[in-house]
Assembly symmetry: C2
Homo-oligomer: 466 residues x 2
Amino acid sequence: MEDNDQNIEPENQELLQDLSEQGKTEELVEMFEELPTMDVAEFMEEKPLEDTIAYLQKLDMDDQGRIFSDFTRDLQIKLFKALDRRLFAKIFGSMYSDIRADLYQELSKEEQIELIPYLDKKIREDVIILSAYPPNTAGGIMNTDFATIFADMTAAEALTKIRTDAPSKDMIYYIYVVDHTMVMKGLVTLKDLVMHEPQDKVLEMLNEFFVYAEVNEYRESVAQKIEKYDLVAVPVLNSLNQLVGVVSHEEAIDIIQKEVTEDMEKIMGIMPSENDEEYMATSSFHHFKKRVIWLVSLAAVGIISGMIINEYQGLLESFIILAMYMPMMAATGGNTGSQSATVIIRSLSLGEIDDKDWAKIIFKEAKISFMLSVCVAVLTYLKIAFLSFHSMLPPGFTMSTLGIVISFAIAIQVVTSAVIGAGLPLIVRRLGGDPAVVASPAITTIVDITGLLIYFTVATLTLGIS
Amino acid sequence: MEDNDQNIEPENQELLQDLSEQGKTEELVEMFEELPTMDVAEFMEEKPLEDTIAYLQKLDMDDQGRIFSDFTRDLQIKLFKALDRRLFAKIFGSMYSDIRADLYQELSKEEQIELIPYLDKKIREDVIILSAYPPNTAGGIMNTDFATIFADMTAAEALTKIRTDAPSKDMIYYIYVVDHTMVMKGLVTLKDLVMHEPQDKVLEMLNEFFVYAEVNEYRESVAQKIEKYDLVAVPVLNSLNQLVGVVSHEEAIDIIQKEVTEDMEKIMGIMPSENDEEYMATSSFHHFKKRVIWLVSLAAVGIISGMIINEYQGLLESFIILAMYMPMMAATGGNTGSQSATVIIRSLSLGEIDDKDWAKIIFKEAKISFMLSVCVAVLTYLKIAFLSFHSMLPPGFTMSTLGIVISFAIAIQVVTSAVIGAGLPLIVRRLGGDPAVVASPAITTIVDITGLLIYFTVATLTLGIS
């Protein structure tokens, strides 16, 4: 995917830039209030720290909290260090609760202790509770910015309560209906409330069969619910069925991006990380640790290929041409196997195929790879015919015989590799594992070995030597 | 990512199953109205076609349209073929407009012509207009289920208009403010309308600086806007600034999934498709076409490796041990290069790194791969020391010398491969291309060649022979 997101709304950036250059501070501040907070945040990020602070202080607390939430983590921490604690605590209190909890966790223990006394009791509790959940669970990604009503209210009363509560809540598309102990009874949409007569009871429009997440549920599963049911947000309940938070659709997108990165890393034999690190923020040593295990293990297994070559040394010495086509044999097998594995892993992950249909899938891959093998074999034969006509051959063998032998071996290698590449992820899934662990490097190494065995066996049998 | 979405709300499926087995049709239909439509759709999909039709007919048109929209494309087409045209046209008219247009495009020309006369004029126009946009643009993925108001209305009037219009609209979190020619003036949220006094003018709460998509804009760009600005939906405008549709957040998730699949395919040297095909629905021949070009091209280039081996035939004959470690050399290089390329491509795609920082990135990859190279080299040396002590060597050479030579060559290979694997995507991005085209098979083939050159050059120089 292209990441030209810098240029999504360049006109807004230019607008702010122009006003700033012309010194029209009042108009500038007005635009801060009008434009999407993400654009304002990006504009401020380019400015010196003191300007950013001055700009922020011209805005009301809600806007400050929203814009600050959209800053990069780096800038948030810089501002924490630069600002007076009391001032920072106010902005911190107006942030989105989930981003606030994430920022809090980035601070050192000392910094956390410094900040705590300046926070309102409600904010303090909120931050501490949200920070307590593991980051890969519903609790770790939820926010607490939701609106609640009671089932015995009328639509009019409910709307009044929302009017009172809501200024601090940004997302009030779903309104959660709870009892007085916060046990969730159901939900109504804002649309339901607006569409009903003012005197209608909430109970009448209550949706009791709602999709929810448990607080300890894995974040992947939460993202899947949002995706499957096309939800704007999903409520999070604890073991007592109390409403403790909400995960919104934007989190689902983030999680899907992270999960896909993990899948791609696994396929390439990179250990996925516990936390979600950015490339540059991750130390070289950590990158090293993520890659080394597969690399060294496969290098260790790779010696088997060497031993096979050693075994057939005599054959190679008589037919130098066999050695020439050996790397192509290995590479083509590796490429075919990796292609099949990637297609199967991705299709499994998107739910397009089911491991129960393994026989159909393997048959399909065999068919596809048969067509591929014909192309590769013809190419190989032509190459041998054109490039290798003055290679030396022992008496009694023609280049055309050898061309057929090598092409035939490569054709078998292509089909075998595709079947191995497709079969391994299916087996892993069948055994209950994550098919993405069947890394492409592992498949490459396996088909290297099977390929050499095929190559030398075909050559030995057809050339009638050993 | 795990796709255990079959089990997200198993209790709902069981509930429906139980009611169905007990023959409690009335309660069953009641539950159809209560449960999330996706659960109902999944339940009906398991039933015989005639049961599904009977169930649907017990529901009101809106519910029929919603549930039908959640059916798989296969079932939708089966029902189109099984149902009376007039009956089908009614369900079709109640579907979500974007899914409806997609279904319409799946029908054959004859089937479309058969259906058209049964459709209401409004539905007919809607379907035909939506079907006219290319599927990879905003127009191709938008729906027309939005609510509009005028700027001179009061909040109360606006809510009344929404109440009248809205039953057919599912997503009314954003209310779009247009003039009488449908030119978009801005938007308000349903929350804005509810929070203001009834007599307040829409104009006062109007958000004029809204994020929008142009109808011909690529769908990736639309998805990025939804992701960047955390939107529930984004309005789509034509060149006259008229509001023609809305793309909702659930489309963004779908697009991101599709784009990621494309990226993974490209990395593995598979040509991404024009349309979004599912694995099983795509013919083997089409799969073949998507994979064959890279495979054959790389096999063609692979012969260079063979020619290099041919060149150093004399060296290999004197030092059989060099041949033994050749496959490991190639495989380790390919693995390291692919790992680096994948990490860099993904980080570029997520916007974590910028190609402007290429020098820093290459330096980082060099550092990481230096650490990897030390591990691989030590392993190689140990393997040679333990496994190859009775290999034959020409007089004057010790196994320990050869161990050092081979390990050193492999260490250089690891660093070179990582730098090539990271550098190529950065160069492609710098030239304005999509870094994912630097397929892992291509990198494997390149480092195969550079690896053999490194291997034989190091061996020739250090062993003092040719």
